[in-house]
């Protein structure tokens, strides 16, 4: 692709979304590939008629369910990986239903992704840092996720000739186990173990943080764990011998009175 073609979509304000996708190398021979693009295109005004009836379903629209940081492939990768870390089981929903990948996306877009309250001055000595000394890389979490996602997909391509989100659950688990064990080389100053630990802790957070952050959809994470969320007082139950099950309330309720 020529330099001019690359720049064209940004320079030409009349350029349609379809032109942008065509020119940014996301198509092969002009044929649009993959579900990710399908969903992008369906938002285009010219293809409005093809939109499936999302708005006509009884489910309320969650306007929070949109990407701030990831592109669609990155999102799909993280959604699949998070689901293996915290899967749907008989006990209740998994990461996907709890919208954990949206939670992670939103967190990465902000101060957590940018390590803004952490000491990020050099010099860095990642080789001298054992796991007992924590984060010793110049990369922030956005960059670490980019590298981790890239490696998840290249491992999937190498072993199974597909994207990480397209391989079977067992295959995904095997790759994640290799990441956890530090057996995969990321293309940067960070280990696959560190990336995995970030992904794992963020997944647990997304399942159980107050829904105000975009995960823990409908407080379903709390309901599974019998955690009542935000309550004003337990003075009346603190001494009780039997388990007291309380319908959870989120911090959103603070705004209802």
């Amino acid at each position: 692709m020529s330099e001019q073609e690359k720049n064209a979509p940004y320079l030409d304000k009349r350029s349609s979304r379809r032109t942008f996708i065509k020119n940014s190398g996301l198509t092969v021979g002009g044929v649009v590939l993959g579900g990710a693009l399908g969903s992008l295109l369906s938002k285009d005004s010219t293809t409005q008629t093809h939109e499936t009836g999302v708005h006509s379903t009884a489910t309320a629209v969650n306007f929070n369910q949109a990407l701030m940081y990831f592109d669609k492939t990155q999102f799909d990768t993280i959604e699949a990986a998070a689901e293996q870390i915290f899967p749907k089981t008989e006990v209740g929903p998994g990461a996907k239903e709890l919208l954990v990948a949206f939670y992670i996306d939103h967190q990465l877009a902000g101060s957590w992704g940018l390590n803004s309250k952490e000491y990020m001055s050099g010099p860095f000595y990642p080789a001298e840092a054992t796991s007992l000394f924590g984060h010793q890389t110049h990369l922030n979490r956005q960059q670490i996720f980019n590298l981790g996602i890239e490696a998840l997909n290249s491992e999937a391509a190498k072993q199974y000739k597909a994207k990480f989100s397209e391989i079977t659950a067992e295959e995904q688990v095997a790759i994640l186990q290799a990441f956890e064990a530090g057996e995969v080389t990321l293309n940067g100053a960070v280990t696959s173990t560190y990336f995995f630990s970030l992904l794992k802790s963020a997944t647990i957070e997304g399942a159980y943080a107050d829904p105000l952050y975009g995960g823990n959809k409908d407080m379903a994470g709390w309901k599974m764990k019998n955690f009542p969320g935000h309550q004003m007082s337990y003075a009346n139950i603190i001494e009780k011998d039997e388990f007291v099950k309380i319908e959870p309330t989120s911090l959103n309720s603070q705004h209802k009175h």
Binding site: P87, K117, F133, Y208, N226, F243
Partner: protein
């Protein structure tokens, strides 16, 4: 050029518990006090959205912004120290009220043994009990001397508690009744009694009932909401500087707090401080606040840093063992706790408060015979009912995978069926555990960061093995179906939360050669500088330090008043 401000009687570098107590005591007497605080202002209304585990517990909302200032860490002198880039092992507070805003509220008195640890160890076991590399020291003050100050702190905060029934521990009468007892605390107490130990309900700064303190401050009772440690209290039930001593100081009209102001240095000439140099981080401007007395009342670690960066006092040299600033840095050890899993019983673990616990001191201090043991001191043993929140509460029996289907289902199943019996292990000083300035890393102003050289030594490792057998035994007696016991204490892990009970570095004592402060917390080398806080502890005991920090702050307040009247060294 820094702008000079009109002189005041007393300037505080840090407005937490120690600064707050000193401000309240001295403004009541008519002295003018200026409090400089690097963080923001705080009020109870800030905590209306506080039941947020992500923001306060995972992301450490109330803690120091490490991008601006942190420290570097290493296990021993042979290594390069690496920056503490994100919070882990300990959580340094920030803002008006300091760590006193986000503490648990467990309020103990150190034992008579602690204050005379060297003398009492030699008396009972002989000199050989103390290893050559352990600079064990008496504190230059006795427990009996400190009793009135302990009482002052407990009355001010309204400590709720029960008398410790251990025969070796002095009797304490608390101003309010103990907190409510949960079924799991009852199980812990019963099991411990069966084993011949002396359990009781821990003394708490979270009020069991409404209370009005001697300063006329009224506060309401704790609601057991389950969001306490690492969080601020929206009820004002947890004693903190913002709801106790600071309003008293403000009421006098003699107190001014300047938030967002970072003290960089104590200025001094000819062995006397003239004031402090600080930066208002909002305007970016530098100021000099002159004062008759400078109180270095920041967090323990930051007290050391301010003194080292001010070139005040003699820095400790681990090679020769001489010098005092940075000496006897100590910490605590929490690796002796065990977790029990109870199939038949579900507990209301989401409820609780930061200081709700059953505790015993049978293996703490010198309350048990160490003749045949390869360590001194010990730790308290407690079952806390602090409120378990879902992100951080994922206890699973040993052998369970740490993610995936089995982890998910097990962590949910056991969430309300597991109880931990923990221990807060003391740490004795070691010649090789110390603090100095880092040669490489700098803060936002280009001042050197602190460098912490610390690791657990034999005394702690041996203590840990001994105590974890007791915590396991108690859980067995409680009827746990499965018990997860920790392995041996390894090297210090800087990434896992242990405690924020960092002590030492500016220690008190009777001898200016081996200590930095006399028993009024007055610097031997600079008579108008007082350094209260846990930095004054010559070793760390097996319990929470704030009760002792509070008592010493009242002692320092008395010393400052004496100094302002008479001048000179008070001891």
């Amino acid at each position: 050029m820094a702008k000079k401000l009109p002189k005041t009687d007393i300037v505080l570098a840090g407005v937490g518990w120690t600064g707050g107590i000193i401000a309240a005591e001295l403004t009541k007497k008519g002295y003018k006090v200026v409090g400089l605080e690097r963080g923001k202002e705080r009020k109870t209304e800030d905590y209306l959205m506080v039941h947020d585990e992500l923001r306060y517990q995972q992301r450490n909302e109330m803690m120091q912004d490490l991008s601006k200032e942190t420290l570097t860490l290493r296990h021993d002198r042979s290594k390069r120290a690496l920056p503490y880039r994100q919070h882990g092992s300990f959580l340094i507070g920030d803002g008006v009220g300091g760590s006193g805003e986000h503490w648990n509220g467990l309020t103990y008195r150190f034992f008579p043994y602690d204050f005379e640890i060297y003398t009492k160890t030699v008396e009972r076991y002989g000199k050989d009990k103390i290893p050559a590399d352990m600079p064990l020291q008496d504190w230059g003050i006795t427990y009996n001397d400190l009793v009135p100050y302990f009482e002052k702190f407990e009355a001010m905060a309204g400590i709720s508690g029960e008398t410790n029934p251990h025969p070796e521990v002095p009797e304490v009468k608390y101003p309010t009744v103990p907190l409510k007892e949960t079924p799991s605390m009852k199980m812990f107490k019963e099991a411990s009694k069966n084993l011949g130990y002396h359990p009781y309900i821990a003394p708490a700064a979270t009020l069991s009932e409404s209370y009005t303190n001697p300063d006329g401050i009224s506060r309401a009772a704790c609601q057991y909401c389950g969001f306490c440690e690492r969080f601020g209290c929206e009820y004002g039930a947890k004693a903190s500087p913002v709801v106790t001593v600071l309003p008293v100081a403000k009421e006098t009209g003699n107190f001014e707090v300047r938030a967002h102001c970072v003290v960089r240095k104590v200025l001094h000439t000819n062995g006397k401080a003239t004031g402090v140099l600080y930066v208002d981080t909002r305007t970016g401007e530098e100021y000099i606040q002159e004062a008759d007395v400078v109180v270095v009342s920041a967090y323990a670690l930051n007290n050391i840093r301010i003194l080292l960066n001010s070139q005040l006092g003699r820095p400790y040299n681990p090679e020769s063992g001489t010098g005092v600033i940075g000496k006897n840095y100590a910490y605590q050890m929490t690796s002796s706790g065990s977790t029990g899993f109870f199939k038949e019983k579900e507990f209301n673990l989401y409820a609780g408060t930061g200081a709700l616990a059953g505790v015993l001191d049978d293996f703490n201090g010198d309350n048990f015979d160490h003749t045949d043991l390869n360590f001194i001191h010990g730790g308290n043993i407690a079952l806390g009912h602090y409120g378990k929140r879902p992100i951080s509460n994922n206890s699973v029996p040993k052998g369970t995978p740490t993610w995936g289907k089995e982890f998910k289902d097990e962590s949910i199943y056991w969430a309300n069926r597991s109880l931990s019996v923990g221990s807060q292990g003391s740490v004795m000083p070691n010649k090789e555990n110390y603090i100095d300035l880092d040669p490489t890393y700098k803060d936002q102003f280009g001042d050197p960061l602190l460098r912490m050289t610390f690791n657990y030594k034999d005394n702690e490792r041996n203590q840990q093995k001994y105590i974890r057998d007791i915590t396991t035994k108690i859980l067995e007696e409680m009827g746990a179906d499965m018990i997860t016991t920790p392995g041996d204490q390894g090297d210090w892990d800087t990434t896992k939360y242990q405690t924020t009970h960092n002590t030492g570095g500016v220690i008190m004592g009777a001898d200016p050669k081996t200590s930095a402060l006399n028993n009024y917390l007055q610097m031997w080398d600079c008579e108008n500088v007082f350094v209260p806080g846990a930095s004054a502890f010559p070793h760390n005991s097996g319990m929470n330090p704030t009760g002792t920090v509070g008592a010493l702050a009242y002692r320092a307040a008395e010393g400052i008043e004496k100094y302002l009247k008479t001048g000179g060294s008070l001891v």
